[in-house]
Symmetry: C5
Subunit: 364 residues, 5 copies
C-alpha cells in the first residue's frame, strides 16, 4: 500500500546512461528497445509525400529535393539508426548523444548548420503521468524529430500539412513551431486529468482520512514536480527562441512562438496552482485527522468522566463495613430508601456532568 | 460540507480551449454563450455619439470618422462577431484567438498597427470571487474592448466621456488608461469584501473552531491566489507600458499610467498582506483546536486521577476476607468508626489531589 | 479576547478612497477630519521667520523671497487647502491626490518642477504601532510637507534650523534630507518598544502559555509586517535618490542621504530579526503547550497504571465465590494472613510500577 | 542510536586549517597524511608515456618536451611536494594554499600563466557519501591535478588517452574537459545509491516508523546538502568557463564543456528532487506516527468506553443495600431472572456501543 | 530557565544611539566606557617602530614620515579621541559618527582622501557569541583602526610586520588586506565552537528532550543569525573591493583579497549549513517528544486495555444476586471449580490481549 509513495516511477531515472568518463558523443544502444519506425513527410506548396521507410539510408532520396523534409523517428534504442540519420543531415555528435540518452532537460542549442531542441511530452503510463523526450533538429530545409515511443500528439499537425491551405507551412521553422505548439498544448489535457484526481482525493479525505490517501497525495506531488521540471525549461527555451537572434527562425514565426510561449507561461501557472492545491489537501488531511482524534478523545473523556464517579458511588456501597458494630457504619445500607437514594445520587451526578459538558460545548 | 475546499470554481478552468495541435488563430465558438452585445461610443471634443449595434458590420459606419471610436463587445461566445470586428479594425488573428479563449493571463503585446492588452476584472459569482477577462485593442483612433459577461466597471468612464469637460479624453490612449484605471481600482472593493470575510472567520474560530471553518479558510486562500495571479501580471504590464517605448501611448498618458501602476502595486501589497492574515487564521485555528484538546485532556485527567484512588479504597473495603478467621483480616470493617474513617481517607486523598492540581496550575 | 488577532487596525485600511473610475487628480475630502494647521518656516543664512497661518493663501507672502521656505500642513482632510497649496507651488494634481489619500506606499517621483516623496512615520495609537503618511514636495527654493495628524518627529530639525550655525541648511534639498533622516530615525524608538514587548511575551509564555498570548504574538506579527511594508520601499526610494541623477538634489546632500540610507538598511535588518524572534515565540509557545500536554498525560498514565492493577486485585477478593462449596473457591479469604497478603501484593505491584516508571525516566 | 543524526561526518570539517592571521600562501602540512603518489602521463598524437615518480623533481624531465604533460598527485598532506610542483610549473602560491587546504568550494580562477579549477568528487566513506577535493591547474602544455586520496574516476580518461584514436586529446584544455566530465558524471552513481536508500527508508517507515529512521532521514538530508554544496558551484564554474573568454580554453573545447554543463544542470535537478523526496519521507514518517497514535487511542477508547459502563452495572449489583429492610432496596437481587437480566443489560450496552462505533467508522 | 530564549543579548542593541533628528556627524560619548588605548605601528622596509600613546595628539609625530603608519584605537567611548584622530587624518565626520555608534553593519565606503571599512569580529562574551565592530580607515600612507574593546585577532599580523621579511607589507592597502583576512579567519574558530555545541545539544536531546534544550536551540539559532548578519555584508564588501575600481587598492592586493573573499564565501556556506543543522535539531527534538508521548500512551493503553476487562470480570462475580432464589442467579459462585474458572477466564483474556498487542507490534 505505502509503496506507492516513492515508487520507482517517481524518481527521475538515471540508469540508462553511458558510464562516467565515456568519450563524448558515444551513442548508448538499448538492446531491449523496439526497433525504430522512420516516417518521412516531404512537401512543397502543392504536394505532400508521406512514406514509412525500411532503412534510414532511404532518407537520402528525399533530401534537398523538397523545401521541407520532416523525418520522424519513433524509438531511440537503436544507435545505428541515430548515427545514420545524424550523418545524412550533418547533425552534431553531442546532440545525437542527447537524443539517445532520453533523460535530458528541455533545452535549445544552436549549432553551425542546425538548431537542436529538446522538449518533453506528457503522457499516462500505468495510471501515472510521465514525460517522453522529443528531440527536434531544425535545418534550412529539414526537420528531424526523435521520440522515445510510438504514439504522439502530432497527428493534428500532419493533418494540417496534408490539407495545407496556407503557404506558411512551407518553411521548416514554421513546422517546428507547429510541433512545439502541439507538445505544449498537450500539457493541458494532462493537467485536466490531475485536476480531476485532486477532486477525488478531496472527496476521499472528507469521507475518511486514511493513510493510503497520503500516499496518493505524495504521488500527485511528484507527478506535478515532474511536470514542473519539464515545463519550466520549456518556457525558458521558448523565450530564448523569441528573444535571441536565431539564424534559422524567421521573425514571422517568432510571432507564433510568442503565442506558444504564452501557453507555456499559463501551464507554469497552472502547475504552481495545482501544487498549491495539492499541498492544501495535505493540510486538509491533517486537519481531518486531528478532528477525528479530537472526536475520539471527547467520547473517551465524556464516557470516563460520567461513569468514573458513578462506579465510585457503587464501590462505596459495595464496602463491607459492619453495620452491626456501629450506627456510623454505612447506615445507608439499612435505610428504607437506601437503594433509590443511591440511584438518585448517581442520576444527579450524571445530570451535573452532562450540564458541564453542554456548557463546554462538547456535546453536538 | 467539505466539498467547498477544492470545489471546481477554485481550479483555474482549462476546458474551453481548442484541442492541442489546432492551427493558431482558430476561434473557438461556445454555442451555449449568450449572444454578444455591441456598443459603440464615438466622440470628439464637442460631441458624443452612443449606439447599441445589431450587427458587427455596422461598426464600419463609425470608423475613421471620429478621433476616438470605442467599440465594446459583451460576450465572447460568438466566433463570427469576433472575426468580423477583427477584420474591420485589422486585428491580429493570434490576439483574436486570445480574446475568444477567456483563460488568458494579463499581458501586453504590441502588433504592427495596434496594441493588445488583456486584464482581468474581479467580480463576485455565487459568493465567490472570480475574475473576468477584459481584452483591449488600442489603435491610432479606436479602442476595442471585449468582456466575457454583461456588466462592468466602466460606467464612471462612460459618464466622464459624456460630461467630457477635459480635452485629454479625445485620445485613444487616454481612454485606454481610463479603462485600465477603472479595472485596477475595482480590485479595492473586492479586497474589502475579503477583509470582512477574514473578520467573520476569526470570530467563528474564536467561538468554536469547527472543521467547516477550515474549508472556508482554504476557499479564501484560493480566492486570494486567483486575485494574485490576476494582479501580478497586471502590475508588470503597466510597468512595461510606462517604461518601454510604445508607439501609440503618449508621454502625457504615461504620467497617468504611473499613477495606475502605483495602485496596482498597492493592490499587490494588500493581496500579500491578506494572504498572510489568512494563513495566520489557519495557525489560529490550530492553536484553538490544540487548546480545546488540552482542555479535554485536563478534565479527563483530573476526573480520572481523583476518582481512581477513591474507587480503589472502596474496592479494598469491598473485599470479602474473613474477619472471623483472623484479627488481621480487615479489622477496619468491624471498627466503630470504620466507615467514617474510610470516608475521611477518601476526602484526604481528594484534598491532596486538588492541592497537587492547583500547584500544577491545572485548575482555572 | 481573541478579537485582538485580526482586529481592524491590522488590516491596511482601504476605505478612504475615491470610488473606482473617478477622474485622476480628484481630491477626496474627509468631512470628519480636523481642520488643517499650516506652519511656515522661511530662512536664509542669517534669519529665521516662523509663522502659523490662518489661510493657505497667506503662503504667497513668503514665496520666492527666501532661499528656503518650508510649509508644513498637519491634517489632509480638507481638499480645498491641499488644492490651494498645490496651485501656489505648481504641484502636480496626481501627487496632490496621493497626499489626500493617505494609504500610499513610500515612493519617490520626479515631476517637471519638483520632486515628490512619500514616507511613513511610525507612531503608537491605542497601544498599537501604526504609521502616518508624510508627503514631501521638494522645489528649487521650497519644501512642502503634509502630515496626517498633529505631532511629529521634526522638532529637533526645527531647533537645528533656528540655531543654524551651519550654512548647509540654507538649501531646500538639505532640509529634505534632514526631514527624511528624522523620519527614518524615528523607527528606532518604535522598534525598541516592540523589543520590550517581545521580552514580556516570552516571560508570559514561560509562566503560562495561554491562548491569549497567541493573539498578542499575531498582533506583534502584524505590527512588524506593517513596519516592514513601510521601511522596505523607504530604503528603495533613498537608494534611488542617491543613485539616480535627480536635478534638485546636490552631490553633497547625497553623501548625507547615503548615511540615512545606511540607517534604513539597519532598520530593515532589525525588522527582519524581530520577525524572526516573534515567530520563534510562536514555536516556543507550541513547545510549551506540548510540554504541558505531556505532563498531563504522564500524570494520568502514572496514576491509572498504578491504580488499575490494584483495583483489580481488590476486585478479585471482592468476588463472592462460595468457599464453602469447594476448597478451591477463594481459599485466600479464609487464610489467617489473607488480608495482609493482599495488601502486600498491592504494595509489590506499586513498587514494581514505580521502578518501571523510574527506569523510563517519567518520574522527576 | 541517535548519534548518527549530527555525527561529525555531516558537519563540514573546519579543523585542518592554518590559524587566523597566518601569511597568505602558507602551506599547512598534515603529518598524518600518507605520502603523495606522483604519476605523469606525457603524450603527443603518436606516443603515450606513463610513469610513477619517486620525487617531484623528476617532473622536470618531462616538461616542455611534450604537447601535453599530465601530472597527477594523490595525497595533499606533504607541503614540500606541493611547493616543488608549484615551483616547477610556476603555480600561484594562493592557489597552492587552496590545494593543501582541502575544504575549498568548487571554483575557477584565472592567473597570468595558468587557470586553477577546484571541483569535488563524490565518494562513499564508511557508508556515508562525502566529497573529495580535486584541484586542477591548466597551463599551455600541462595539466596538474591534486587529489586528496588514492582512487579516482579518471581511469576511463587514461584508457581513452592510451587508445587515443582521436587527435583532439592532444590539447591540455581538452584533457581538462575530459577530467571535469569524469568528475561530474561520477555524481550519477552516487545519486543512484541515494535513490536506493530512499526506497529502503520508505519501506521501513511503512513497516514500522521508528525513531531510528528519523536519524537516517536526517543523515540523507545532510548528504544531499553536501552534494548540493559541491555541485551548485561546479555548475557555476562550468558556466563561467563556457561564457567568459578564457585564454587557455579553445572554442571547440567549449562546445564539449557545454555538454558537461548540461550534465551538471541535470545533477542539480536530481539533487533538488531527492531533497524533495527526502523531506516527503519525513512528512510520511509523521503521518505514519500520527496514524499509529490514532490507532492506539482508538483501541483505548473503544475498550474503555465499552467496559466502563459494564463495570458500573456490575458495581451496582455489588452494592450491599439491605433488601430485607425495604422492598425498594435492590429487589433485582432477589428476582428469579435477576442475574440473566443483568447480563442481558450488559449485552445490550455492548451492542449499543459497538453500533455507535460502527456508525462513527472506528471499527475496521 | 526559559529566560535564555530571547534574553537581551540576542536582540540587536539599539540603545546607544543619538536621538532621532540629531545633526549628522554628531559623536555620541559613552561616559561608562573605559578610556581608549592608542597604539601606533610605523614601519618601512627596514625598521618597525611601536608605541602606546598617552594622547591622540602624539600621533602627529609619526604622520607622513613613514610609508605606513598604523594607528589602532581600542575603545570608542571617548568622543574627543575619535574627533582628534579624525581631524589629524582628515577623516569624514559621517564615518566618524559610524565609528562611535558601534551598531553598524559591515560596509565599505569611499571618500575623497580615504576609504572606510566596517567589519565585525566574532567573540565570546558570557558564553554567548557576539560580534565586535572594527572600523578601518585606509589612506595613502596610513591605516587607522578602531575597536570596541581590548583584545583582538591582530597579533599574528603584528608579528608578521615585525618579522616582515617580505616587501609587500610596506603598503597600506596590503596591511588592510592582512587585517581583513585576520578578521574573516577569526570566524572559523567561532564556528567550531558552535559546531561542538550542536553536538552537545544532540546528545542531550537523545538522552532526554527537556524544554530547556529548546531554549538552547533558540539561543544557537540567534547566535547563528547574528553571525549571518555580520558575514553576509562582509562578503559583499570584499566583493565590491575586488570588483570595483578603488583608487587606494592596488591590483596585486586585489589578488589577495580574492583569497579572503573565498574564505568569506566558505563561512557563509558554513553558517547556512549550521542553521540547517540547528533547525534539524528542533525537528529532532519534536520527533523525540512525540516518540515519548507515544510511549506513554502505549503503556497507558496496554495497562488499561488488559485490566479493564479483568476488573469487569471480577466485578461480575462480586455482584450479590441471590443464588438461593433461583438456579439462574450466579450459579458459578457455587460451582466446585468456580474460582479457578474465573481466574482461567481472566488469564485467557490477558493472553488474548497480549496476542492482539503483539500482532499490532506495540510490544517491544
Amino acid at each position: 500500500m505505502f509503496t506507492t509513495i516513492l515508487s520507482k516511477r517517481w524518481r527521475p531515472r538515471i540508469a540508462a546512461r553511458t558510464p562516467p568518463g565515456t568519450a563524448p558523443g558515444t551513442l548508448a544502444a538499448d538492446p531491449e528497445a523496439p526497433p525504430p519506425v522512420i516516417r518521412v513527410m516531404a512537401y512543397d506548396a502543392d504536394e505532400v509525400l508521406e512514406e514509412t521507410l525500411e532503412t534510414p539510408r532511404a532518407i537520402a532520396d528525399y533530401m534537398d529535393k523538397w523545401p521541407v523534409v520532416w523525418v520522424n523517428v519513433d524509438g531511440v534504442g537503436d544507435a545505428e539508426t541515430i548515427r545514420t540519420v545524424g550523418e545524412l543531415f550533418g547533425l552534431h555528435p553531442l546532440a545525437l548523444e542527447d537524443v539517445a540518452n532520453s533523460r535530458q532537460r528541455p533545452k535549445f542549442e544552436e549549432y553551425d548548420k542546425h538548431a537542436f531542441i529538446v522538449v518533453r511530452m506528457p503522457g499516462l503510463a500505468e495510471h501515472t503521468l510521465s514525460t517522453e523526450q522529443v528531440s527536434m533538429f531544425l535545418g534550412a530545409n529539414f526537420v528531424v524529430t526523435f521520440q522515445e515511443w510510438q504514439g504522439d500528439c502530432f497527428d493534428p499537425v500532419r493533418k494540417r500539412i496534408r490539407e495545407s491551405t496556407r503557404g506558411r507551412f512551407v518553411r521548416a521553422d514554421y513546422l517546428v513551431y507547429a510541433l512545439l505548439d502541439a507538445v505544449v498544448d498537450s500539457y493541458f489535457p494532462a493537467l485536466e486529468g490531475l485536476s480531476e484526481r485532486l477532486d477525488d482525493l478531496e472527496e476521499e479525505i472528507a469521507a475518511a482520512p486514511t493513510v493510503e490517501v497520503v500516499g496518493r497525495i505524495f504521488a500527485t506531488k511528484h507527478e506535478l514536480h515532474a511536470l514542473r521540471r519539464a515545463i519550466w525549461p520549456t518556457r525558458d527555451l521558448l523565450n530564448a527562441l523569441i528573444r535571441d537572434p536565431v539564424a534559422l527562425v524567421s521573425d514571422s514565426t517568432k510571432t507564433y512562438l510568442r503565442d506558444c510561449y504564452d501557453h507555456a507561461v499559463r501551464i507554469v501557472d497552472l502547475v504552481e496552482t495545482y501544487r498549491d492545491l495539492n499541498s492544501g489537501l495535505m493540510e486538509f488531511y491533517q486537519s481531518s485527522v486531528g478532528h477525528r482524534m479530537n472526536e475520539i478523545m471527547k467520547v473517551l473523556t465524556i464516557m470516563a468522566t460520567i461513569f468514573i464517579p458513578l462506579t465510585f458511588i457503587a464501590g462505596i456501597y459495595g464496602m463491607n463495613f459492619s453495620a452491626e458494630r456501629s450506627p456510623w457504619n454505612m447506615p445507608e445500607l439499612n435505610w428504607y430508601w437506601g437503594y433509590p437514594f443511591a440511584l438518585l445520587l448517581m442520576a444527579l451526578v450524571t445530570v451535573g456532568m452532562v450540564a458541564f459538558f453542554r456548557r463546554k460545548g462538547w456535546l453536538g
